[in-house]
C-alpha cells in the first residue's frame, strides 16, 4: 500500500504565514535555550544530496542537524555521486529514503527538488535549485529582519544590486508581501531591474514601492538594506558594467547618510559589493544572518519531522 507523501518544502510558498512565524518562534527559543534542543533529533538522519558544489548551505544544514543531536550522511561531491553515472533524481531519492529520515537537496536544474519531493518517502527540503528557489535562505532573511528590527512590518526595505536574476531577492519580496505596511525601494541599474512579473505582483498587492538607480538617493530612507552582487556577465557591454559597478559597492562613505539602526543584509558569498571596512559597523548583519539561517534550518527540520 502506498503511504501518503510526507510534507516537503520546495518553495517559501509551501509554508503558511503562521507556519513561518511559528518557525521563527522556535528559532528564537533555540537561541535562548539551546540545551533544550540538543537531543531533539537523536537517532534521526539527515541526508544532504548536493548535485552542485556548495559550502555554506551544506554546512549550515549539517550543523543544524548535528546541533539537534541527529546524524548526517552525504555524498562527498556531485562528481562522486550516482548522478554522475546517470541515475535519475527519482531513483536517487527513493534509495536515500531508505537510509535517511529527511533530505536536503541542491541541484543546478530548476524544479529538481519538486521531483525529489514527489518521489521521496521522506521530507525533502530544497537547498537551492539553479536560479529558481532557495526557501531556507528566505527563512534566514526573515528571521534576521525580525530579530534586528523587532518586526516584519512597517519597514522601508531597500533591495540593491542584481534584482533581475537574484533569486533570493524574488523570494524575499514574495515572503515580505505577506506582512503589512512595508515599503520597498528597488535599487538597480536598468539592465538588472526587477522582472516584470514581480513588478506586477507588487502593484497587484497595492504596496508602496519605487525604483531608483541611486543607492545614495535611497540610503537615508531605509530600515533594511539587502545587498546582492552585480555580476559582470549580466551586462550586455563592459562599458556599462565599468560605469555602474562601483555605484553598488557599499562602503562607509555611502553609509554616512544611513539611519543609525539600519540592518544590512547579504545572502553571501560576498565578492566586493560590500567593502570589508563595513564589517565592523554594528549595522552589518550579514554574518549574523548565517547564524539565523542555521537556527531556521533547525526549526524547519524539526517541523518536517513532526518533532516539537
Amino acid at each position: 500500500m502506498n503511504k501518503p507523501k510526507p510534507r516537503s518544502v520546495v518553495s517559501i510558498l509551501d509554508l503558511t504565514t503562521d507556519e513561518i512565524n511559528g518557525l521563527m518562534n522556535v528559532a528564537d527559543d533555540i537561541e535562548n535555550n539551546p540545551d533544550k534542543y540538543r537531543e531533539k533529533c537523536k537517532h534521526k538522519i539527515l541526508s544532504t544530496i548536493f548535485f552542485e558544489p556548495s559550502t555554506r548551505t551544506r554546512l549550515s544544514f549539517e550543523a543544524a542537524m548535528l546541533s539537534l543531536g541527529g546524524s548526517v550522511i552525504s555524498t562527498a561531491d556531485s562528481q562522486s555521486s550516482s548522478a554522475a553515472k546517470g541515475e535519475s533524481i527519482s531513483d536517487t531519492v527513493k534509495v536515500i529514503s531508505n537510509y535517511a529520515d529527511i533530505i536536503a537537496m541542491r541541484h543546478p536544474k530548476e524544479g529538481a527538488p519538486v521531483v525529489g519531493a514527489m518521489k521521496a518517502d521522506v521530507p525533502v527540503i530544497n537547498a537551492g535549485d539553479g536560479g529558481h528557489f532557495h526557501p531556507t535562505q528566505t527563512l534566514a532573511d526573515l528571521l534576521t529582519i525580525r530579530r534586528t528590527k523587532g518586526a516584519l512590518s512597517n519597514l522601508v526595505i531597500g533591495l540593491c544590486g542584481d534584482l533581475m536574476f537574484g533569486r533570493t531577492v524574488h523570494s524575499l519580496i514574495e515572503a515580505m508581501l505577506r506582512y503589512p505596511n512595508n515599503k520597498y525601494v528597488m535599487i538597480a541599474p536598468s539592465e538588472l531591474r526587477l522582472p516584470e512579473y514581480i513588478r506586477e505582483e507588487l502593484d497587484k498587492a497595492g504596496v508602496d514601492w519605487e525604483e531608483t538607480e541611486s543607492l545614495e538617493y535611497a540610503m537615508p530612507k531605509l530600515d533594511v538594506l539587502y545587498m546582492t552582487r552585480v555580476q559582470k556577465e549580466r551586462f550586455f557591454n563592459e562599458e556599462d558594467y565599468v560605469r555602474l559597478k562601483d555605484t553598488y559597492i557599499l562602503d562607509e562613505e555611502k553609509l554616512k547618510t544611513a539611519k543609525p539602526d539600519l540592518a544590512i543584509l547579504h545572502p553571501l558569498p560576498r565578492v566586493n559589493e560590500i567593502s570589508v571596512s563595513v564589517d565592523d559597523d554594528p549595522r552589518a548583519k550579514y554574518f549574523y544572518q548565517t547564524l539565523c539561517g542555521k537556527q531556521m534550518r533547525m526549526a524547519l527540520i524539526m517541523f518536517l519531522l513532526g518533532i516539537k
Binding site: 533524481i89 541541484h107 521531483v115
Partner: protein
C-alpha cells in the same frame, strides 16, 4: 455542403473557427483508422462562425486537452444515431504531457522520462506554468 452524420461516434462542436486543425493535431486524430471529418467555418448562432470535428468511432478523448485548446467546445457522444451524452469542457487545472517545457534550465530538459506537467496560474489570461520550474507554458497555436 453535406457531410454524413455520425451513427456511432463523437461530434466536437462549437470549436472556434480555424482551430479544428489544432484539435486534430493535439488529439492525434491522424492515428485513428476510422473516418474523421473536419468542417471549417460553419454558421453558428452562438459565435457567428465555428469549426466542427466528427469522429466516426466512440474513442477515449482527453477532455483536458480540448478544454485547454478552447473551453467553449462541446462534446457530443452519439450511439445508434442518437445523442446520448453531451459534455462541456473547461479550462483544466493541470495539463500532463500536452505542452512541453522549453526552459533549458528545467529538470525536464535532462530527465527525459519525467511527465511535462503544467498548472493553471492565471485563469483570466489562460497562463500555465511548469510544475517544476514555473516557466510559462509555450502555447503554440492555442491563443
Amino acid at each position: 455542403m453535406n457531410i454524413d452524420g455520425v451513427s456511432n461516434g463523437i461530434v466536437l462542436d462549437h470549436i472556434k473557427a480555424g482551430k479544428s486543425m489544432i484539435v486534430y493535431d493535439y488529439l492525434k486524430l491522424s492515428k485513428l483508422d476510422c473516418c474523421v471529418a473536419l468542417i471549417q467555418n460553419c454558421q453558428s448562432k452562438k459565435f457567428g462562425r465555428k469549426d466542427i470535428v466528427k469522429i466516426d468511432e466512440l474513442i477515449d478523448l482527453d477532455l483536458d486537452v480540448l478544454g485547454y485548446i478552447d473551453p467553449n467546445i462541446t462534446v457530443n457522444y452519439v450511439k445508434d444515431n442518437k445523442l446520448f451524452e453531451k459534455k462541456h469542457v473547461a479550462l483544466p487545472e493541470t495539463l500532463t504531457n500536452v505542452i512541453k517545457c522549453k526552459n533549458p534550465r528545467c529538470i525536464t530538459s535532462t530527465e527525459q522520462e519525467l511527465p511535462h506537467i503544467f498548472k493553471l496560474a492565471d485563469r483570466e489570461n489562460r497562463v500555465y506554468r511548469c510544475a517544476y520550474c514555473d516557466a510559462v507554458g509555450h502555447t503554440k497555436g492555442i491563443k
